[in-house]
């Protein structure tokens, strides 16, 4: 396995044995979101990238969910009247977002702000609070009509931010993943960040999650021996310990490899 495909400590801490599979899934999700958004642009016959952008923000979370659903115990949150689903794995919520244009550089990412986005980026600090959140303002594109609704973030107590630098012309260029906070003005401050090796992960056609043929098996040890003997002519079973418990110690006993 190339070094670039060796999961970092951060990934191992968040996804354990599934780290490599998650890295590949995140890249594949971005690629598939790009492909579908390009199809939307082609279908619209618009020269501008409006259709591409309008599709990508909805398609990306959908692809993330479909690529990460294999994770054991994964939680999929779809807030009532929400526009897309989010994945929670091992108490961490994954929030993907497309970056581009002036904010494409990882240290100058700026997101549109909303109350919910600030709450999401502050999950760790609110983990002890018991206050339901509303998802109404989760996406700025969503029409804010109808009654308010409430939802929570399931078991999530922390946030993983995945930033996709992707354009209609160039496709996915960079994918950054890590821990981040959101400033009042929408600036993203990374607490930890790493960039996924796109090409290496795209080329990794097969990933082995757990293959360890040499792993110990419960039946590796030698089985115990059950000693059976033909009785001598005239020997009476009823004279033995079963009829007379006091004579139990005179039995033949058992040779058990595991006792020695």
């Amino acid at each position: 396995m190339p070094d670039s495909l060796t999961p970092s400590e951060w990934f191992a801490d968040h996804f354990g044995d599934y780290s490599l599979a998650v890295m590949k899934a995140l890249v594949a999700a971005g690629q598939d979101a790009h492909t579908r958004s390009l199809e939307a642009k082609a279908g619209s016959k618009l020269r501008t990238n409006d259709a591409y952008g309008a599709s990508f923000w909805l398609v990306l979370p959908e692809e993330i969910v479909s690529h990460l659903v294999f994770l054991p115990g994964v939680e999929i949150l779809k807030p009532r009247r929400g526009r897309y689903e989010l994945v929670v794995f091992d108490n961490a919520m994954l929030f993907p977002s497309r970056i581009g244009g002036d904010s494409a550089a990882p240290d100058s990412i700026k997101l549109r702000t909303s109350k919910v986005r600030h709450e999401m980026f502050s999950l760790e600090s609110r983990a002890t609070l018991d206050e339901p959140l509303d998802f109404e303002s989760l996406d700025y594109e969503e029409e804010a009509v109808g009654p308010r609704y409430v939802a929570d973030f399931g078991s999530a107590t922390s946030l993983i931010f995945a930033a996709y630098d992707c354009s209609a012309r160039g496709g996915p260029q960079h994918v950054y993943v890590g821990d981040a906070t959101l400033q009042e003005d929408g600036t993203v401050i990374w607490l930890y960040r790493e960039e996924l090796p796109l090409r290496a992960l795209e080329d990794a056609t097969t990933l082995t999650l757990v293959t360890d043929d040499l792993a110990p098996r419960f039946d590796d040890s030698a089985p115990p021996t059950t000693t059976l003997e033909i009785r001598n002519p005239g020997e009476n079973a009823e004279d033995e310990e079963l009829a007379d418990p006091a004579a139990k110690d005179e039995g033949t006993g058992t040779e058990n490899d595991e006792r020695t």
Partner: protein
């Protein structure tokens, strides 16, 4: 056995119905009826008498007429000689046997299972005349109960005590059924699971006979991990509940606790189980300790390594993986040391001395198919030759 056996193998074929009726054993009628899962009313219809008459025959108040003997034999699928008294017989009440699927079994089903166990004891007794079995190596076993105070009352402590007694240390138990057999406990696959009417019976055990008996029914959920847990559960009953009346759900839970500690000792598990939901690691531990992933999740929650909410998510995920075919059962038959073999091996050994299934059947007054059924755990499915 008390008194001379009036029906030696050379005579057994020549008994008349009158002779059988004269030596009629009421309890054999009850046993055969329960094994056939028939009510007194059913048998009464078969043979053409009243249900009350059947009750009188079974209680010994009256003796059936000679002309009914063949009809009983036909109705209950036993040889006519089966009803003759004079053979060693175990008497087991259903309250003396512990049933794993307690809530889903009926009294009738349990009666069949206990009648089956009575027959099993007769088979073991007959084989032991020819072959010496391992001594029963269950501390405190007194031929019907465990001497009080031998094991701690706490199921986990009792499991640890038996592990120590059997020299199992803190290692995974590689061959559970073979280990149980090697300590003189009769273990057998019951052919009950192929019987639609009693397939709900998962397993049962009893300490009430001269040898402890564990009866397993692997067909119900043909998975070696579940099978091993069931065997450990029944072992728990033998260790913990000798002399206590069966039927209390609390005893079933205690047997579960025994099984969990016996198969996966807490002292080891607390150090090896992951502190987060890591199915890769759970899968490896499952293979290493011979228990299901679900059981390990349960254990993790029990030990306090996983929260209730995380465990719930895990169960949901496990069910999904099973539905998707990602988690598959491992058939018990693929693990030979988890398949009971002591009785079969004993008969094979005795065959070298001239014993055969046919002669065993003749001694027991059973049909040979019944002997084969108990030895193999399978219903006799050999083709039947029909003369036309």
């Amino acid at each position: 056995m008390s008194g001379p056996d009036p029906f030696s193998s050379t005579q057994s074929g020549g008994l008349t119905d009158r002779e059988v009726a004269q030596a009629f054993d009421p309890d054999r009628l009850r046993q055969a009826r329960q094994l056939a899962l028939k009510t007194k009313h059913d048998v009464a219809i078969d043979v053409g008498v009243s249900p009350a008459a059947i009750g009188q025959y079974e209680s010994g108040v009256t003796v059936p007429r000679a002309d009914l003997i063949s009809r009983f034999a036909e109705s209950l699928d036993v040889p006519r000689e089966f009803f003759v008294t004079g053979r060693p017989q175990a008497k087991l009440e259903s309250g003396e046997a512990f049933f794993r699927s307690l809530r889903s079994t009926t009294a009738k089903q349990r009666a069949k299972a206990t009648a089956f166990t009575e027959q099993l004891w007769e088979l073991v007794h007959a084989i032991e005349k020819h072959v010496r079995f391992p001594r029963v190596d269950l501390p405190g076993f007194l031929g019907g109960e465990i001497q009080p105070g031998t094991f701690p009352a706490n199921p986990e402590a009792a499991a640890r005590a038996l592990r120590q007694e059997w020299g199992l240390g803190d290692r995974p138990i590689g061959h559970l059924v073979r280990t149980i057999e090697s300590h003189g406990i009769v273990t057998i696959f019951a052919p009950l699971a192929k019987d639609d009417e009693v397939r709900r019976i998962d397993a049962f055990s009893t300490l009430a006979l001269s040898r402890p008996v564990i009866v397993l029914s692997p067909d119900r959920a043909d998975d070696v991990f579940r099978h091993r847990f069931t065997a450990a559960h029944e072992l728990g009953h033998l260790v913990l509940h000798g002399g206590q009346p069966a039927g209390d759900i609390a005893l079933e839970r205690e047997a579960d606790r025994f099984a969990a500690e016996f198969l996966t000792p807490k002292a080891v598990m607390a150090n090896v189980l992951p502190r987060r939901l890591d199915f890769g690691r759970l899968g490896r531990l499952s293979a290493e300790w011979g228990v299901s992933i679900k059981s390990l999740v349960y254990r993790s929650r029990e030990i306090g390594l996983l929260s209730d909410a995380t465990a719930r998510r895990a169960y949901i995920r496990i069910e999904l993986l099973i539905k998707e075919g990602e988690l598959v059962n491992r058939p018990v038959i693929q693990f030979p040391t988890e398949v009971p073999e002591m009785l079969r091996r004993a008969v094979e050994l005795a065959e070298s001395q001239g014993l055969s299934v046919t002669s065993l059947a003749r001694d027991l007054r059973w049909k040979p198919a019944q002997v084969r059924k108990l030895l193999s755990g399978e219903v006799d499915e050999r083709p039947t030759l029909r003369l036309v």
